[in-house]
Amino acid sequence: MKGISHFITGVAVGTFFPDAVHAAVAGSFILVLGGIGGLLPDTLDFKFARFIEEPDILIDPHPEQFEAQKIADEIAAGIDRVGATHKKQILKCNTMRLGPDWWQQYSIKFDTQNGEALVQLGPIVNTSQIPLPESLRVSPKGRAKIHVPLLPTYGDFVTVDIFSGPSFALEWRNDRVEIDFIPWHRQYSHSFFMALLFGTLCGALFFWMDHPLYVTAGLIGAFAVMAHVLEDQLGYLGSNLLWPLTKVRSTGMKLIHAGDAIPNFFVVGTSCMLIIFNLDRFSSPPSLDPLLYWGGLWLPFPLALIYFFVRKFRADVLKRIPLLAQQEGDLVAETQEVMDA
């Protein structure tokens, strides 16, 4: 889900606590904790974890001396090395910045069917990823053979252009090399442990401030993080829910992709309506008629969602994209969303 969906869900979670709503009327900011908790998991990942990760294979091309074949060779050699040593490697692809708003795009592809790594130069793009007209140079493509079997993964070209480039974990699993996109994402930050930790911190902070609602503050913080984690389970890739007991990200419910507009809009709209309903419900006297509110005003949101699922399942039946590819595609989309934000 997009950041705003998680954030507003966290705020909505807080409004289910009547004492928090009453405190808010009296001037408290306790409900803000829900928003913070709602966005915390992605904040930890995209503002901290991604920079701490140490790459083993660093692709850092120069725009004037771009050699696609050399990059493809480096990537293929790295994958072969994992096959030979069974030791995990982190592959990081740096971007090429040309100026304040201009970037030289290139893209890489893991062709798991033919066992090849492919690299090609793209156009010059601005920070909104709009190509500069006629900036696509003629440049030889890179193609290198991979000599170990690969697990199916995201099958399209992954573009490397603006801000920070993507990274991949190359890991030996079930006698094949798995290419795990953006391995620092949805690990410890998206776990029950994080919900517990943030809830405890919120409670402790309010206790220290001598605020009577320290238990409520803790519960709002914990449930807001949990809401984020659970919303992410709706996608193709879940998260490492039981960290530190487990080390692998689970498979999600495969219902939506992170960047899908209608489900995100459904969550934001429903959360806003829940917030207003709860604020009204816990004030006296309530003015909203629940039947009219949920039966009439809310109706466009579930109808839009039904329309989305009907279209999605029809498309899924036709496409039959492998699960791993969908998961990695989801991660690519989510990272892109953060770049665009």
Partner: protein
């Protein structure tokens, strides 16, 4: 009432034509002039009635909401509500498509008119009920918006560095600059609210020098220093925006604009930004259209709410000033106001196309650096004219704060701390305490 509509319509059209000229002067806000008009109206009440004055101001705000795009895109001098349009607008300008960008915002504005007409019969129930529910909660809702603005700014660096800490520092430089910009502009806002150097008799212009310093001057200086060259511009006869794209932009902008029109301090740009996230926008054209809608509904919608017969919501500078001397009455006037918004909006759209052509001619004939230098002189002169030496001082303090995002590549939206911080604190009852900490009182 019918016989009275014609003169009211004439006043509204005059207001639109007047605002259309004022909107071309960079950073000159319609509220600056409206304030003078209202002061004038107090002493000239036998010449102009309350309804006539209200419709004159309505026409002005419609014209301004549609046409302030021209100075933002072609002169690069934005204000608090056009700050989001400048970046894609100037990008379009550099791609020879400045006229198209201006027209797309106009299409967004026309979409905003349609939304207002559709909402008109239900607005009283909808906004009246909503206001009753959220009124005691405004402080934390604004705090939630602030937290989201700060948390949803993601790092734009961090690729290079020998160690994790070095990369983290590289990534956090921009984020830190964003937080610093917000904090400093927030403190500036507190100073302006509690110990403004702007003379008391010009208090209604209090924010003008801060906005000019935070938003307009850094952008214009950037254009002067970078020596940006404007390529030959193309006057498009058709627009590369299919109906579905326009609908998406208008829908998203309507959500943001109505949110901004209703909630205190939230500007059209911020409303559009939040709605853009909520509706998963990715296309520049959708973004520009949505900002056009959002900006239009932010200004016009807020004033329109003032005419709601029973709910009468006073939000925004225009209705705030007018409410001191006038109270609109009845459903007739409400629906007349809706009709005149549509009339003046359509007129403004055609004026927008006309003025954009003139602006295209200007940026092609005159060196853009000279235009930017002239704009800079105009900005300084305006600040001095409206707020005196005290205002110039405020502007000089605001400029380095507004320059921080330019230097560090962080979001310029963080400058809105100048509004968000003092108002949020005051709504929570903490304003005087914080002002005391800052030794402002």
């Amino acid at each position: 009432m019918n016989a009275e509509i014609l003169p009211l319509a004439l006043y509204a059209i005059v207001g639109t034509l007047l605002a259309s000229l004022l909107a071309l002067i960079p950073a000159l806000h319609v509220y600056n002039i409206a304030g003078i008009f209202i002061l004038f109206a107090v002493s000239a009440q036998k010449f102009i009635g309350g309804d006539e004055l209200a419709m004159l101001l309505l026409g002005m705000i419609v014209g301004y909401a549609m046409l302030n795009t021209v100075s933002a895109i072609f002169l690069g001098a934005p204000d608090d509500s056009t700050i989001f349009i400048v970046l894609p607008g100037q990008k379009y300008l550099l791609m020879s498509r400045g006229y198209e960008a201006a027209a797309l915002t106009g299409i967004g504005g026309l979409g905003g008119i349609v939304i207002l007409i559709l909402l008109a019969p239900f607005a009283e129930t909808l906004f009246g009920t909503l206001r009753a529910i959220v009124l005691p909660h405004l402080h934390w809702i604004l705090a939630v918006i602030i937290v989201y603005m700060l948390m949803a700014e993601w790092p734009k660096g961090g690729d290079r560095g020998a160690t994790g800490l070095a990369r983290l520092w590289d990534a956090w430089k921009g984020l830190g600059a964003g937080i610093l910009t917000f904090a400093l502009s927030g403190i500036l806002g507190m100073v302006l609210m509690y110990a403004s150097p702007v003379p008391t008799e010009r208090a209604f212009q209090n924010l003008l020098p801060a906005f000019v310093g935070l938003f307009a001057v850094p952008w214009v200086m950037d254009n002067i220093l970078s020596g940006a060259k404007i390529p030959p511009q193309h006057i498009a006869k058709t627009f590369d925006a299919p109906p579905a794209m326009i609908a998406r932009g208008v829908f998203s902008g309507a959500l943001g604009g109505l949110f901004a029109a209703f909630f205190p301090v939230v500007t059209g740009g911020v409303g559009g930004y939040l709605a853009g996230h909520a509706t998963a926008q990715r296309d520049d054209r959708v973004f520009i259209i949505s900002q056009g809608t959002s900006k239009f509904l932010y200004y016009v919608g807020a004033f329109w709410l003032f005419f709601l017969p029973a709910a009468r919501i006073v939000k925004g500078g225009m209705s705030g000033m007018l409410a001191t001397i006038y109270t609109p009455a009845g459903y007739d006037l409400y629906y007349v106001s809706v009709g005149l918004i549509a009339l003046c909006g359509v007129l403004s759209f055609f004026l927008l196309l006309l003025y954009s052509r003139a602006a295209v001619w200007l940026v092609q004939k005159v060196n853009y650096r000279y235009i930017s230098i002239a704009t800079m002189f105009l900005l300084v002169a305006l600040v001095y004219f409206f707020t005196g030496v005290g205002g110039l001082f405020v502007m000089l303090v605001a400029v380095p704060i507004g320059w921080l995002p330019v230097l560090w590549g962080s979001r310029r939206m963080n400058c809105l701390g100048v509004l968000l911080v003092p108002i949020t604190l005051n709504l929570a009852g903490l304003g005087p305490t914080v002002a005391e900490w800052l030794r402002l009182i």
